[in-house]
């Protein structure tokens, strides 16, 4: 299994541009999460999903959108990039009833800079 994969690894955007951060998992996990990590800070939850077609806001959802059309994929959309969105973005998933219940598996992260 590849686990949780994220693309791209790095990206520089100009203010006002849009982009989609991709996240995929091949572990058949129902629960998926998007976090941002700012320097010297912990992870802040942006959005999460408990299954295909179901998403909900986390602590810091403003400026972002998500969709979950399949179990495997959970893309994060930035519509109008702002410098405040410069951060490292992590995707995570949780498997239920797998013997490692409630352990979040994290992707390697996407480092985004908005100039």
């Amino acid at each position: 299994n590849a686990g949780v994969t994220q693309t791209p690894k790095f990206r520089i955007l100009k203010i006002g541009q849009s982009m989609t951060l991709q996240c995929a998992q091949d572990m058949n996990h129902n629960y998926m999460y998007w976090y941002r990590q700012d320097p010297g800070m912990g992870l802040k939850l942006i959005y999460y999903s408990v299954g295909a077609g179901i998403t909900d806001k986390g602590e810091v959802p403003n400026g972002y959108n998500v969709s979950r059309s399949t179990t495997e994929d959970f893309p994060l959309r930035l519509e109008l990039a702002a410098p405040s969105q410069t951060s490292v973005y992590f995707c995570a998933s949780i498997g239920v009833g797998s013997g490692r219940q409630n352990e979040q598996f994290f992707g390697p992260g996407t480092r985004l800079t908005v100039l």
Partner: protein, 112 residues
């Protein structure tokens, strides 16, 4: 409101010395508690978790943590630190499969 506090931003210990990283939480219900480790440029790896039962939990890499409900704490310990333990450590609290709240992290430096 739910929150996690890690009072120590940075800790330096000598290799072979013992380690304790502090974590205090605020949560309205029975907490699910986690400790994660993050190496530079990497994602987070689970060290250990507490859901219920024995308040002393064992994790990977020789780490353990003790849940103290009366103090709302979940401190991470290791009896003898290795140079490879240098990393960022995060405490987190979560509802069952719901939202998770992370502390701001403690950066550990290990001196040879």
């Amino acid at each position: 409101a739910q929150s996690v506090t890690q009072p120590d931003i940075h800790i330096t210990v000598s290799e072979g010395a013992s380690l304790e990283l502090r974590c205090n939480y605020s949560y309205g219900a029975t907490p699910y508690l986690f400790w994660y480790v993050q190496s530079p440029g990497q994602g987070l790896q689970l060290l250990l978790k507490y859901f219920s039962g024995d308040t002393l939990v064992q994790g990977i890499k020789g780490f353990e943590a003790e849940f103290k409900r009366s103090q709302s704490s979940f401190n991470l310990r290791k009896p003898s630190v290795h140079w490879s333990d240098a990393a960022e450590y995060f405490c987190a609290v979560g509802a069952f499969l719901g939202q998770f709240y992370f502390g701001t992290g403690t950066s550990l430096t290990v001196i040879p």
